[in-house]
Subunit: 226 residues, 2 copies
DNA sequence: ATGCCGGTTTACCAAATGGTAATGTTACAG
DNA sequence: CTGTAACATTACCATTTGGTAAACCGGCAT
């Protein structure tokens, strides 16, 4: 979870930085508006905490610029201005929350967590892809270099699991647990057998194989050179 | 945009109701906690505004119960309690925002709009729900009032189609085309037969049937009184 | 009331699915 | 080079699935 903090008062900035680190977040700090905008535009953050009064470029302008650029980043506004008009103004500019200084750290943390909760629900990917292979998780269809591939339900789940961990080796035991919901070893070779069928459909006849076995460890989905 | 307001003070409730209507929202009002929970569980709202101090069931309990039932509804907490602890508590229980009384209507409106902005990202829905029935399109699971229902793949697709058109009658021909990909009439009663099995699993043993037949036209998924 | 038409339910069977085990293959140690 | 263990492939069979048709039911027009 990466947070961007844009704040010029270094006492407050330090206070927030330390607290967030302790809470297990990774946090970057920009101390003026232009830097902050630059950070936000050129890196992928999960949330931003933005002061309104900033040197070079004020907070509201940063938010407007981000929204103009279609950057949909949850933003908490931090400000000394406490009138209703200021709050309303901040939210209307595209802020997600407004917190007035002075504030207690626990409240900031609670708001950060509330926003994460909401933002991360929506991010669930509806398709997975690697190289020229892609799965549509909603339609449950598989396409490799434009050609539709017909998989059985179990085969699809197996491939989905490999794709979700693409680049990382997954052991047969892991596969058993996540795809078959077995927490024991049935003493058969179900996984091998199903992998074989899967390869036949997904790899056979295509340029380069994507399903690789790692002797003694398990299987990986990747292209050879990754 | 449908808002659910749970508030026992009728002066405040009226004030909010009028304002929201004027702002173009459709709003329902429950004046105690149990009613509120019932409304939220049995209907589809886009946002809820919840007072904390309520007769019969307090606001935090309502929120907890909703989150337990996997109902992901943006919630604004409204409360006279203004301490940091209360705010933190409210957010930790699954609220998305916390507003203290007295508040100005413009601030409430701004927060409602901010939450809508975030919740309504134009993303393909990954779950469908109607009344107390909900489908998880990714996991391909079905839950009705907390109980898991096991459907066969075809049954799931059929129910999904009904849900996607919930409230609207769909003809058997339509169903054949979209669920079976037949563009002709096979002269059998596949649809009827499968609808029957589906009813057995989805409706039998539950409070109110959701799958209704409209003689001569087709089928609808809805509650009787909608 | 009677029969008919549209819809429902059920039993049945063919096809698809998915696990098992036997057999074949390959990598690597010695 | 050879033996072994890990893995691959394949044939086979039980279970699940899903379509068909026949029996059943209930509202409505005659």
């Amino acid at each position: 979870m990466r947070i961007l903090l844009i704040e010029d008062d270094c006492v407050i900035a330090d206070f927030i930085r330390k607290g967030m680190k302790q809470a297990g977040f990774s946090i970057d700090h920009a101390d003026d508006g232009l830097n902050g905008l630059d950070f936000a535009l050129n890196d992928n953050y999960d949330l931003a905490i933005v002061d309104l009064m900033l040197p070079k470029l004020d907070g509201l302008s940063i938010i407007s610029r981000l929204r103009e650029n279609n950057i949909d980043l949850p933003i908490i506004i931090l400000s000394a201005k406490r009138t209703v008009d200021d709050r309303v103004h901040g939210l209307q500019h595209g802020g997600d929350d407004y917190l007035t200084k002075p504030f207690s750290f626990s409240e900031l943390l609670a708001r950060v967590e509330a926003l994460f909760r909401r933002a991360n629900k929506i991010v669930e990917p509806t398709s997975l892809s690697a190289h020229n292979l892609s799965l549509d998780l909603l339609a449950r269809t598989v396409i490799r270099s434009g050609k539709k591939i017909n998989l059985q339900p179990k085969e699809f789940s197996l491939l989905e699991y490999l794709m979700r961990n693409s680049g990382h080796v997954v052991s047969k035991t892991m596969i058993m647990e996540r795809v078959w919901n077995y927490n024991f070893d049935p003493g058969t070779n179900v996984v091998e057998a199903r992998i074989s069928k899967l390869r036949e459909k997904v790899d056979r006849g295509f340029d380069t194989p994507l399903i690789h076995t790692v002797r003694g460890l398990g299987y990986v989905l990747k292209r050879k050179d990754d």
